[in-house]
């Protein structure tokens, strides 16, 4: 990032490029759009405050991604319970449809519900690896753990998900 560029401009430019993806990531972590947006806003405000102290702005995206994960963890700790809507609200209709779209929606709901039942660290690993498509090294950096921990955490998460979704173990 150009050092000559003002912090405000630089951070805003990063926000414009990455806010959508990071908000989606936080949303998958939290199951709550507003909370996700709050976490992302906070993370970018933190980046802005830290901008002049950062030795290398090429790592700004990684920095803010880690902040989003930290913020998500804090939000989860505060909530102390699974998000209401995504934890499985009461059904309005009991009639199952054979339509593909409905089935796809049902499958997606089950996947997301299972994801939300994972411990936060396992959820982070899964979201970073399979949603954000980060390699193990970047996942480790974002989570603040070693590469080996990413491997073991992801493996445990997949095993748990497979059990929950009643699928074959990967």
């Amino acid at each position: 990032m150009d050092r000559g560029m003002g912090a405000s401009q630089a951070v805003t430019a990063i926000y414009e490029r990455h806010a959508l993806g990071l908000t989606r990531l936080a949303f998958l972590m939290l199951g709550d759009r507003q909370a996700a947006e709050d976490v992302v806003q906070e993370a970018f405000c933190g980046l802005y405050r830290a901008w002049d102290r950062m030795p290398d702005h090429t790592h700004a995206v990684g920095y803010v991604r880690a902040s989003v994960l930290n913020g998500s963890r804090s939000a989860l700790r505060r909530s102390r319970r699974a998000p209401r809507v995504l934890a499985g609200p009461a059904a309005a209709s009991s009639a199952a449809s054979a339509e593909d779209a409905v089935l796809a929606g049902e499958r997606q709901r089950e996947t997301v519900a299972a994801l939300r039942r994972l411990p936060p660290r396992q959820r982070e690993a899964v979201v970073l690896r399979y949603f954000a498509d980060l390699p193990e090294q970047e996942t480790a950096a974002a989570m603040g753990v070693s590469r080996g921990t990413v491997k073991s955490t992801t493996s445990r998460a997949l095993a748990a998900l497979a059990r929950m979704l009643q699928e074959e173990k990967p």
Partner: protein, 455 residues
């Protein structure tokens, strides 16, 4: 890649796409923590709360707020070179002075909702909670959720003392997939809660019992009296009797005014419904034809004397018609009761590189005559950040209306700020400012997916 991994990838992607491109709020950066280097040697940096040691912040929160604000404007003056630096304190230099210390807001995050056969589709079922924040610092005081099995906020209202809020919660039905659609529950009685903020900044939330029941189907609107002691509720009209109630919260004592059909629907705008003496209640009214078409072309307001014992709405109130307005029925009366303020009509927004414009009209509460036009605005071209069309509304007023908090279309957002005459100054410490793109300050309706807040 295994089947499970493929499934995870596809389903997480689909789930995340509920958050669509273009729906992300603009970034709202705080006042800069670090002053420009050329100013750094001047002494302590006073314009960023994060520079205070924790114990100082804790012990001197109120003072810090003032310092932050003063510092912010000091910085603004010095950096821009447009002013002489901080002048004596006053409403022009300290915009938070005199403004209620706390505000409540709810965000639906609903940008794509639509209604088909009475069922609302979209992502507005997410995040049903209200947050209370400090106006000056944006500090979060409390997040309020509906008491289970209730899961939505029908509306809420704040008192002018800035320390009392009332919430009406509802129970909606969600479909099996959780986020696809929900049905409003029109029949279950709403549950009410009241939140009080102590002088020490602590919150006390408790259930609130009201005489009788209210339902979502009645579409009630609310307004708390300035001291937070009485709650006004309005509903009905348009084929049904119009009802206005004033309830003393401590005792449950009820005064009620009604108007038989065909009465217009009375509507309370929340923050601007009461005069500061707690006597006059300003109600907007809207006349809806059975076909659903709105009949009134101009805003009409009914000024009700709540000292009257109750009975006929027409007998105890005065009707004022505001010329040049567009019939949008959110009333606002200045606390001294002398003026009514409303959005002046402007053409419907056009697409493409068109111009939207608007202004607020200040009217005599006695005669309805237009006294002044303030806060003119205009926008060129499309504003992709807007979730709904531009909107300008008053959400708080000083005693005489010389200083207002308004929503003001600016850039890609409806910003919230202080309007003095024609000078608008955004409230940058309102944490929600970047999200206030789709707003309905008059006791918001969750079913519409609005952002709502109460001061």
């Amino acid at each position: 890649m295994t089947q499970l991994e493929e499934r995870l990838r596809a389903d997480m992607r689909a789930e995340s796409e509920q958050i669509g491109p273009g729906s992300i709020p603009a970034l709202q950066l705080p006042a800069r923590a670090d002053p420009p280097r050329r100013l750094r040697r001047r002494g302590p940096r006073l314009w960023g709360p994060w520079h205070w040691p924790a114990w100082v912040t804790t012990l001197a929160a109120a003072a810090a707020v003032v310092v932050v604000i003063a510092g912010t404007f000091f910085l603004a003056h010095v950096v821009s070179g447009s002013g002489p630096g901080p002048s004596a304190t006053g409403e022009e230099t300290v915009p938070y002075s005199g403004i209620p210390p706390y505000y409540a807001y709810a965000v639906q995050g609903d940008t794509y909702s639509r209604t088909i056969n009475g069922t609302e589709y979209g992502d507005s079922v997410i995040a049903r909670y209200v947050k209370i924040r400090a106006t000056a610092s944006g500090k979060l005081l409390r997040t309020v959720s509906p008491p289970a099995p209730y899961n939505a906020f029908e509306s809420f209202a704040g008192a002018a003392n800035g320390r009392t809020f009332v919430f009406a919660t509802n129970r909606n039905r969600y479909d099996k997939t959780g986020n696809e659609y929900f049905e409003l529950d029109h029949k279950t009685p709403l549950k009410f809660m009241i939140l009080r903020i102590t002088p020490g900044g602590h919150t006390q939330l408790s259930p609130l019992s009201l005489p009788g029941t209210l339902t979502e189907g009645q579409a009630p609107t609310l307004a708390l009296s300035p001291d937070g002691a009485r709650l006004a509720v309005a509903y009905g009209g348009s084929g049904k009797p119009a009802v206005v109630q004033v309830i003393t919260l401590a005792t449950g004592q009820l005064r009620q005014w009604t108007a038989p059909p065909p009465a217009a629907t009375p509507m309370l705008g929340g923050p601007g419904a009461w005069t500061s003496d707690g006597r006059t209640l300003a109600l907007g009214q809207i006349s809806v034809h059975p076909s659903g078409k709105i009949r009134s072309a101009r805003t009409q307001m009914r000024l009700l004397d709540t000292n009257a014992p109750g009975g006929s709405l027409a007998a105890d109130s005065k009707l004022v018609t505001l010329p040049g307005t567009d019939g949008f029925p959110w009333p606002f009366i200045t606390p001294d009761g002398t003026k009514l303020i409303g959005e002046i009509s402007h053409g419907p927004p056009r697409t493409g590189p068109a111009i939207e414009s608007g202004a607020l009209g200040v009217y005599s509460a006695r005669t309805g005559a237009l006294l002044q036009v303030i806060g003119r605005w205009q926008q060129h071209g499309q504003r992709p950040g807007m979730l709904f069309s531009a909107r300008q509304a008053v959400v708080w007023s000083s005693l005489s209306g010389s200083r207002l908090i308004v929503e003001m279309p600016r850039g890609k957002l409806n910003e919230v700020g202080v309007l003095s005459g024609n000078t608008f100054r955004p409230l940058t410490h309102v944490a929600l400012a970047p999200l206030l793109a789709a707003i309905n300050s008059g006791g918001f309706q969750t079913s519409g997916g609005y952002v709502g807040f109460a001061w």
